[in-house]
Amino acid sequence: MSVSHSQITRLYSRFTSLDKGENGTLSREDFQRIPELAINPLGDRIINAFFPEGEDQVNFRGFMRTLAHFRPIEDNEKSKDQNGPEPLNSRSNKLHFAFRLYDLDKDDKISRDELLQVLRMMVGVNISDEQLGSIADRTIQEADQDGDSAISFAEFVKVLEKVDVEQKMSIRFLH
């Protein structure tokens, strides 16, 4: 992952400023201390994305790995490595990251319940269960191609093929 030296330095100083316990790792509470993240309806899911299965602490390496998904795709033009593994910020990996935000139990399918849960997080108490259910049903019906009432990753990609994922899931660094 070719990030410039100054970007890494700045991200490291950000990491240490978030690390109130000063033990080289971040916990979920450290993330929740960021007010703008705490008021984000999907804040908890985003925080979860940093923590690998069953763990409560993330070190700087893990922190950078997760952030790497949000690097702009143009950066890859400079370092085309055909033989290496696909970079974390490719379109496919960005979509996979978004897919995992929906797919809680990691069975590679977004079920109706999982979709309902995410919807509930985003709208709060402002929409009733029935209305939310009908929104979920309609969404799945439109995207579902193989008729199993769940969305697989391939179907997910198909629905989003017209969306400019690169621009929407990227963070531009100033330096």
Partner: protein
């Protein structure tokens, strides 16, 4: 040719540095003549006395008391040292050409700006990432319809990650980052090693600061605090009356001036005609405990605060005898009505000094003004807003109370180059609804001081954000969704 230019620059800097004390003369002479007047026992009101002093132009024939002279020498040291060091750096040959030019350009630009302190500084855009400020509505409904789509989470996701990398709020609770290094290790966060000559200059700087400036400042501070305690206790013995008020103001002002000198403070006051009057409330943005000293350097206020133990408690008990400061016990602070009632009584008495309040409630790092708590604006009375902006090149005045206790904070202040700040007195304001009034005052202060305005609560330094904000975001999103 380059060498000649740099030599000229060095000579110019040295001459500027030597001329620096001449601009300090008005403050020193006012202090010197102040003491002379006190000795002759003139009974004129202190307020008008300040005004007449500030209007007098500096003349060479002003008799400097030996005290004032020592202070001006001290100010020379404080101001000359960084300018000389920058000249040394400019001559350093090991610094790479491009960095030298960039850095020298920044320095020249900054020194060119200094003769005009009236212009407020624009907030430096020192961010890590480019934040996308498209509002939720535009971004989501751009995606064809307002029906729910999987892509809606992209908006929240990106906002979340932007907040993780850099957020508006938590950066205000730590010191501001500088564009160019000012030879203090503490601001060395993102600068790396450039050359040996620079390191040598830095070592000289450390020796100067710790071995020369620090003992001098420490003794001045000790003298200041001692005279404050002794003076106010002495004045406190007198019966209440005009003489007592006058003397207590003399004592407060003189001690405050000694303490400002102890910190090598160079303060520029603007719009002195708007200075807070008796029976008013002075509100200012809060950066550090020395804000109070900086304001009392120019006028007398009644302080508001909690009773502390230790040295601070001794000072509080001594000063309250001379002048009616408002100190609350810890238990009283919790009762908001009691606090408001006491302050209201104080303000209603027109003979009492204006009270000084910091509505943010906590120290913010002087790049922005956070939410003003509405309590101060419910008391009634005229509000006199004051904007305080420190120049971070000479020293960082912000107190990060989670990282440093008060003693190490004072040590850091006393080993900086100087405390340079601008104080703007804004015209008095009045208002009806406390919350809106608070926001108006905050905007005025932010605009004057060149600070950004944030609607966030300074209490977020320690407390969690309220759930109502998240619910608001959820409500906004659900309004955009169309459902059958």
């Amino acid at each position: 040719m380059e060498r000649y230019k740099q030599a000229f620059h060095l000579i110019k800097v040295v001459i500027l540095a030597l001329m620096a004390p001449l601009t300090q003369v008005p403050e020193n002479t006012s202090q010197g003549n102040w003491e002379a007047l006190a000795l002759t026992g003139e009974q004129s009101l202190p307020y008008s006395l300040f005004q007449s002093h500030s209007l007098r132009p500096p003349t060479g024939q002003e008799q400097l008391s030996s005290w004032g002279f020592a202070c001006s020498l001290h100010s020379v040291a404080a101001l000359a040292v960084p300018r000389l060091t920058e000249a040394f750096q400019a001559l350093g040959g090991c610094v790479p050409e491009l960095e030298l030019k960039q850095w020298a350009t920044i320095r020249l630009q900054k020194s060119a700006k200094k003769p005009q302190p009236q212009l407020p500084r624009t907030p430096t855009a020192n961010g890590i990432i480019e934040r996308d400020e498209t509002p939720m509505e535009k971004e989501i409904t751009l995606l064809h319809r307002a029906d729910f789509e999987f892509s809606h989470i992209f908006y929240f996701c990106r906002k979340g990650f932007e907040a993780i990398v850099e957020d508006e709020v938590t950066q205000r609770f730590s010191s501001e980052e500088l564009l160019s290094w000012n030879l203090l290790t503490r601001t060395n966060v993102n600068f790396h090693y450039i050359s040996l000559k620079l390191t040598v200059v830095w070592v000289i700087g450390v020796i100067v600061r710790y071995c020369f400036l620090l003992p001098l400042r420490f003794t001045l501070a000790a003298i200041g605090i001692m005279s404050m305690i002794v003076g106010t206790t002495a004045v406190g013995q007198l019966p209440n009356g005009r003489v007592k008020n006058y003397l207590s103001e003399v004592v407060h002002l003189t001690c405050s001036r000694i303490l400002v000198r102890a910190l090598s403070g160079t303060i520029h006051y603007h719009n002195k005609e708007n200075r807070p009057r008796k029976g008013g409330i002075c509100v200012a943005n809060h950066t550090s405990p020395i804000d109070a000293i900086i304001l009392t350097n120019d006028g007398c206020y009644a302080m508001v605060g909690q009773v502390h133990g230790g040295l601070m408690g001794i000072i509080q008990r001594a000063t309250v005898k001379a002048c009616p400061h408002v100190w609350f016990e810890r238990s009283e602070i919790k009762d908001r009505h009691l606090v408001t009632k006491r302050l209201r009584e104080h303000v209603a008495d027109k003979s009492k000094l204006p009270i000084l309040i910091f509505p943010e409630g906590t120290c913010i790092n002087n790049t922005s003004v956070m939410m003003f708590k509405k309590g101060s604006f419910e008391i009634g009375g005229t509000i006199y807003p004051v904007a305080i902006k420190y120049d971070p090149q000479f020293g960082d005045a912000f107190w990060n109370s989670s990282k440093y206790n008060i003693v190490s904070y004072l040590l850091r202040i006393m080993t900086s180059w100087a405390i340079v700040c601008n104080v703007w007195y804004l015209p008095p304001m009045e208002g009806e609804d406390a919350v809106q009034f608070a926001n108006r005052v905050r905007s005025a202060i932010a605009r004057q001081g060149g600070l950004t305005e944030l609607p966030w609560d300074g209490g977020l330094k320690r407390a969690k954000v309220k759930d109502t904000f998240k619910e608001e975001q959820q409500k906004n999103y659900s309004k955009m969704l169309a459902w059958t």
